[in-house]
């Protein structure tokens, strides 16, 4: 299946409602609500035609004051069968939690830890929710827009 | 100012009296020039010197220094005679019109022409212009106020405005152009001997109680001394210490010999400034302060607009904010006073000052607000006295003309007026460091009429000695056709020739402003 077919397939067969979606320059992108995430991701992985089985990347974007809710958690999942990628975006506000997808793809474990470390977005159900790059007792979230480039010494 | 700078555009006639606007308020002067040229607004200029603004003026009144009241009374006489005054405004909004009217009757144009040196036809022309205009504005500056009769000058201008109902409407009003960037703010903040912030009277017990509660200390109800009185009190020994912040009285005060003695007699003098000025030479302690570019805070300009001042760079060496220094001294004298930043001070002061109550840093982030602004949703007041006069009824005060205290005689033949120059500011500590200002006016000068100079055998640029009954200075002559015969002009920006050595310290009884604009002097070759 190519991009357009995948997108139509998802629109018709998706168990949860698609808030926003389309076929961008690089791949299909879809936005779902925070609560429907696990349900939707399960659908992507287990459905034979889609078969999004390889987790490419889990990251987040801090829109700070440009958008509320403030963060967008972005998942990129690749389908070895169709050689196509999908971008799933979920809006998360400061202090909110989001479900971890390590149950579906173990590869997301470290990726989610990095998002927690850099943005302060905790993932519920994660086997080992700790910081990964910064020291354990670090108090700040460096990739947030309001964190100065030169860092904060205290 | 009763009105604001922007609504001057709606004036049909503008009376500029005692203000060299294009030199001392250049940006506003440009606007007047533009109005005259492109909108046809008719400007009447009344000034002893033929200042640049006269190029675009509709009518120029070459008045003798110190005779303003006569001129204004003369104009009012013509307005009343020709019925150009606004009867229903006078009836509804004013009081004391009848006695005032009797006094003005005496000032016929011919009688006034003798006193002021302005032709009676010009006086009539000016009166008709001002009287017949729907909207006429009065602009004045230190030329009106720096006289022993300064207060009366202003009151007679008020009479003129009330006479024609030119108050409380755009393009009208009585508008003093305050000389300095925050002189309006300094007055608003209670930098005066008789008033707390917001012109609340020190003598009023209830008001004093309010400030005692706010500051948690007993306050004195005795009205303090003004700047010239402080000099005298220091001489007589009543005052033993001066705390001077950002001032250079050794150049700006009148009768400087008198002041020099006073400063030497002081037991203790502290000066807090950004440069080592001449006043610092007499000081016992000099404290380095931050300049305007290194401070956060607010200035209030001449149209009562409170505007934000932001810190652009760090102060040099160990210079600190003025308020920090004062708080530290206060703490060491047992009164705990400390603030995190200037906004905290502003929050405290706006609660005590009714006119500033509604102004906050957030509200004036981009554009300033003009006080009075009682509440936080109040948009500010561009024009005062709208609808009705603030004090209820506009008061006509009959004022008789009296000649200036010091008249020229056979020994001191010239009248000296002092003032400012376009390129320099106040005591020159700032502008004399700047290349462009120094390029044009590097040294002190005495403006003189070419014929007077020829009679004295002087030509342009000669060194000359100017003496008055109080002192003498040496400077260079600058011939200029702007000057009338028998009158000379100089500025107080230069420490090497302090013109205020010549000026007297007779004060206006109410405003306590010295007579800078009229001093009898003689001019001799050194």
């Amino acid at each position: 299946m190519d991009k357009v077919q995948i997108f139509e397939y998802i629109q018709s067969k998706s168990p949860v409602d698609i808030l926003e979606g389309g076929v961008a320059k690089d791949c299909v992108f879809v936005r779902v609500s925070r609560d429907n995430l696990l349900n939707f991701m399960g659908f992507l992985k287990d459905n034979e035609d889609l078969a999004f089985d390889l987790i490419s990347d889990v990251t987040a974007v801090d829109y700070y004051t440009d958008k509320t809710p403030r963060f967008d958690v972005v998942y990129h999942v690749f389908s070895l069968k169709n050689h196509e990628r999908i971008r799933v975006k979920v809006a998360v506000d400061e202090g909110q939690e989001i479900a971890s997808v390590t149950g579906l793809w173990r590869g997301a474990e470290w990726l989610e830890r990095e998002v927690y470390d850099m943005f302060g977005i905790p993932f519920s159900g994660h086997p080992d929710m700790r910081r990964i790059l910064m020291p354990e007792d670090y108090k700040y979230y460096p990739l947030r827009k309001d964190f100065p480039l030169e860092g904060i010494e205290d | 100012m009763t009105n604001s700078l922007a609504d001057i555009e709606e004036a049909e006639v503008i009376l500029v009296i005692g203000s060299n606007t294009t030199e001392n308020h250049p940006v506003f002067g440009m606007k007047l020039r533009r109005l005259a040229r492109r909108k046809g607004t008719r400007i009447i200029v009344a000034d002893p010197r033929k200042i640049d603004l006269t190029e675009d003026a509709f009518l120029y009144l070459p008045i003798k220094p110190g005779t303003d009241i006569a001129l204004i009374n003369g104009m009012m006489n013509v307005i009343l005679r020709e019925g150009l005054h606004d009867e229903d405004f006078i009836a509804e909004h004013t009081e004391g019109f009848d006695e005032f009217r009797k006094v003005v009757e005496k000032y016929t144009p011919e009688y006034v022409a003798e006193i002021t040196g302005v032709s009676s036809s010009d006086i009539e022309k000016a009166a008709r212009l001002y009287g017949s205009a729907q909207r006429a504005s009065i602009i004045y500056c230190m030329g009106i106020t720096q006289h022993t009769k300064g207060t009366n000058n202003v009151k007679s201008l008020a009479n003129l405005a009330l006479l024609c109902g030119n108050i409380g409407k755009p393009g009208t009003g009585i508008n003093p152009l305050r000389g300095q960037n925050n002189v309006q703010g300094a007055c608003d903040m209670g930098g005066l001997p008789a008033t707390y912030p917001g012109y609340q009277q020190v003598a009023n017990d209830e008001i004093r109680k309010k400030f005692e509660d706010a500051w948690g200390v007993k306050l004195s109800g005795k009205v303090g001394l003004t700047v010239v009185e402080m000099g005298d009190a220091a001489l007589s020994g009543d005052v033993k210490a001066f705390y001077v912040m950002g001032e250079n009285p050794i150049l700006s005060d009148p009768n400087l010999h008198h002041l020099e003695e006073a400063l030497q007699k002081l037991e203790f003098l502290v000066v807090q400034d950004i440069f080592f000025t001449d006043t610092c030479k007499y000081a016992h302690a000099v404290l380095p302060a931050a300049a305007y570019a290194e401070k956060d805070g607010t200035f209030t300009n001449t149209e009562r607009r409170v505007q934000r001042v932001r810190r652009a760079l760090n102060p040099p060496g160990e210079a600190r904010d003025d308020w920090w220094i004062l708080c530290e001294v206060a703490r060491r004298m047992g009164y705990e006073m400390s603030y995190k930043n200037s906004e905290e001070i502003f929050e405290e002061l706006r609660k005590l000052t009714p006119q500033y109550a509604g102004i906050t840093y957030k509200r004036i982030e981009t554009v300033g607000i003009q006080w009075p602004c009682p509440t936080e949703d109040h948009p500010g007041t561009p024009i005062l006295h709208v609808g009705k006069i603030a004090r209820g009824k506009g008061l006509f005060t009959p004022i008789e003309y009296k000649p200036p205290v010091e008249q020229p005689d056979e020994e001191y033949t010239f009248i000296l007026t002092t003032g400012r120059n376009y390129y320099h500011y106040h005591t020159g500590t700032m502008t004399r460091q700047c290349m462009v200002c120094n390029f044009y006016v590097p040294e002190p000068y005495l403006e003189m009429n070419p014929d007077d100079a020829r009679e004295l055998g002087l030509n342009d640029g000669d060194a000359v000695k100017v003496c008055s009954r109080r002192g003498e200075i040496e400077l260079k002559v600058k011939l200029s056709s702007r000057m009338k015969r028998g009158e000379v002009f100089s500025t107080f920006h230069f420490s090497e020739a302090r013109v205020n050595l010549l000026t007297g310290s007779e004060l206006d009884p109410i405003s306590k402003i010295p007579e800078f604009k009229v001093t009898a002097v003689k001019v001799v070759k050194p």
């Binding site: - | 940006v27 001997p193 005795k222 290194e294 805070g297 009164y335 300033g368």
Partner: protein, 349 residues
């Protein structure tokens, strides 16, 4: 009055130009010589638009709208005309960007980047080599004038005659390259309006020895420290030095205008003569001391005099040059700490 621009209908009242209504409705029309505060100049030809029924392209800045006019602002012929106008200017422009103070803030650079976004403006080599010409004398020492960089937009001439009213500048047609001439230099009042409106590096600032590029400086808006008009201006600060003064045209009370003191009077801020450390007079000459020592000395002396001769033996001079906050704290100091009302300042002088 009804007007159609790019297929959209707009209600317009009499006497507005095409450019004004376009800007109001957010329709982009590039301009170089247009200056809001003065009457349209129409010398650069960049703002041309197509009006149906007229075969010639029309300058949007000085063409008044008529009822039923149909205007297109981005047809191919309009774009080509804009590029041609820009090309004519570029042909005579020296390759001074690396040494020009205005580079990075230059309107010509912005226009070349905007109009040449997709593809080149001119298909042949344009511009004249780096001339390294020294600046020629101008009507005020505060401004350096490089005639070779002038694009003849005449903004300076118009603002000096119409807005400031000094009519110092004229356009000198002779010679190979017409240029601006400060003919009546003695009338110049160094207000720097010409410097402020010059879109290119022909007129550049000549006061600060330090020059910085736009991305190396911090701009903070403050109020001029001189006369009572209270002009709002922006201090451009690079490496803790004030480098130049710019103005935002939309802010009252001065709406983008300044005088010589406001524009060029900033050197005192970084002057070497600034007071840097507290001084105390010891046996008749001043010694630098620490803050603590100075403050203790002042506090002691004032307390001593206050106790011996009473609070009214102390007088204070506040300052019309300090901020409201400073003055408030000063009079509070004199009244609450010293206990006297002997507070005044130079409002009377």
């Amino acid at each position: 009055m009804l007007v159609k621009i790019n297929g959209q209908e707009y209600e317009v009242d009499q006497g507005t130009t095409i450019l004004q209504i376009a800007r109001e409705k957010g329709i982009y029309i590039p301009t170089l010589c247009y200056l809001e505060r003065v009457s349209p100049i129409g010398s650069c030809g960049l703002c041309v638009v197509e009006v149906e029924g007229q075969d010639e392209l029309v300058q949007a800045c000085n063409t008044y709208v008529e009822d039923g006019m149909v205007i297109n602002t981005d047809t191919p012929s309009v774009k080509a005309a804009r590029k041609a106008a820009l090309e004519k200017i570029l042909e005579k422009h020296p390759l001074d960007c690396p040494v020009c103070d205005k580079a990075g803030e230059c309107k010509l650079q912005d226009l070349v980047y905007e109009l040449g976004y997709e593809e080149r403006i001119s298909h042949k080599v344009v511009g004249i080599p780096l001339l390294k010409e020294p600046p020629v004398s101008y009507s005020t020492p505060g401004i350096k004038y490089y005639p070779s960089r002038c694009v003849l937009c005449q903004r300076c001439v118009t603002i000096c005659s119409e807005y400031v009213g000094r009519e110092v500048l004229v356009v000198n047609e002779e010679g190979d390259k017409p240029r601006i001439e400060p003919l009546y230099a003695d009338r110049c009042i160094s207000c720097g309006e010409c410097l402020a409106v010059c879109p290119v590096g022909a007129l550049t600032e000549n006061v600060s020895p330090l020059k910085v590029r736009p991305w190396q400086k911090k701009v903070s808006r403050t109020v001029c420290p001189y006369c009572g008009v209270g002009c709002v201006l922006e201090l451009n600060v690079g490496d803790n030095r004030v480098v130049k003064v710019t103005v935002d045209e939309s802010i009252p009370p001065n709406y983008g205008t300044l005088c010589v003191k406001g524009r060029f009077g900033f050197e005192f801020i970084n002057s070497e003569k600034r007071l840097k450390r507290p001084l105390i007079r010891k046996n008749d000459e001043f010694q630098e001391v620490s803050w603590d020592e100075a403050l203790d000395f002042v506090a002691e002396k004032l307390t001593a005099i206050k106790e011996s001769a009473g609070p009214d033996a102390i007088a204070g001079l506040a300052s019309a040059k300090c901020t409201n906050e400073d003055n408030y704290v000063f009079q509070k100091f004199m009244r609450a700490v010293i206990g006297t009302n002997n507070v005044d300042h130079c409002a009377r002088l």
